[in-house]
Amino acid sequence: MSEEKLKFAFYWAASCGGCEIAVLDIDEVILDVAAAADILLWPVAMDFKYKDVEAMDDGHIDVCFFNGAIRNSEQEELAHLLRKKSKVMVAFGSCAVTGGIPGLANLSDKKGIFETVYHDNASIENPEGIVPEPSSQVKEGELTIPEFYDTVRTLDQTIEVDYYLPGCPPPTSLILTAVTAIIKGELPPKGSIIAPNKSVCDECRFEKSDKRITEIKRVYEVEKLEDKCLLEQGIICLGPATRGGCDAQCLKANMPCTGCGGPTPNSLDQGGKMISALASILGLDDEEKYNDEQVDALIDKVVDPVGTFYKYGLPSALIKRKVMKE
């Protein structure tokens, strides 16, 4: 690295802003970052104009940390623009990596979402039925806003991505690993996921033994938590199907893993793997005695399969969205 400072950019698309906070969670190391790098774009914290980015030479930005999924034309345009202007593009956080919570909007489409948000919600009063339009005429002239898409996409379904930092938000230790590697110029091979190649269970504090459950419980239904694997207590925990690196933080707070780390290495589909794991241990004792209705009753305790098994990853799953019927 030359003596010249590194140039960073942070951008957010369809995300909640938690990833931006996570950047600050690296505490005083942020001062090292500030010493080593200039920040050229960070809409959440500083005032920049898109035209300043447009005016940069191609490849001017050293590293762009991009969080959020892509679900409207502004986000898509900025993804392409920042890709052109950045040497290294990092998909930062679950939304950019696998689609994240906004990805669950793939269970509906633009029409369905607009109907709920602008017409059907109990707190909405919209007698004229006004919905946002990409372009509208007012007396001062034409007003435009970004176009809303039917389908939420991940960052790498939109542009080429160099590195992936999964997590909702990415754990501080992984952000530190990434930032340190960038400052030292010791980046892993392109396309790497900056997280360990092991599952959340590997880092989980709970005692684990044979898994065999007779029913599925939702978190609120468990009165007294035992000090053992949550799956063994009947709570759906996505630990076995989820990439670790988070130090199993949620488990430390007695909450099950919901899968923000994305699929484990070499797994095509996180939800499919979890379905396999869960169905295998559910009703394992005396499984030969269950009749078909009893098996159905067991399975029916999974209330919302997509929301349970694809909470952070519907846009990157094998089946990326709901099939909408006319």
């Binding site: 095509l268 589909d269 169905a279 098996v295 099939v323």
Partner: protein, 139 residues
Amino acid sequence: MPDFEPSVVAFLCNWCSYAGADLAGTSRLKYPPNVRSIRVMCSGRVDPVFVLDALKEGIDGILVAGCHPGDCHYQSGNYKTNRKIKLIKKLLDELGIESDRVRFEYISASEGQKFADTVTEFVFRLKELGPNPLKEECQ
């Protein structure tokens, strides 16, 4: 859609259902030629990801067949597959894909007729359903 010929992938367990399909052949039973058999050692080997991947690739129907309860060569693979398929069906319902596209059957080595009947019924049902809605997307 009169000309529609559904594509069917059948995962058949080595010990019962594949032998059942073999018997259907050696007994010269007639069944629709839409089915492509894949032999697996146990129906328990069929990962839900195989089923989802087949659907994503545009296959119209997936048949998984294993030994009858109590007959599994590995003791309990068929019970697990039964539960997996039920959970996959529930997932597909939520994703707007007809869950009838995935079917699990117990077919023993002596049930050549049941294999032929199952395939015939399944292909008939798939013709009613029409092409896999994910097919357009993957082309």
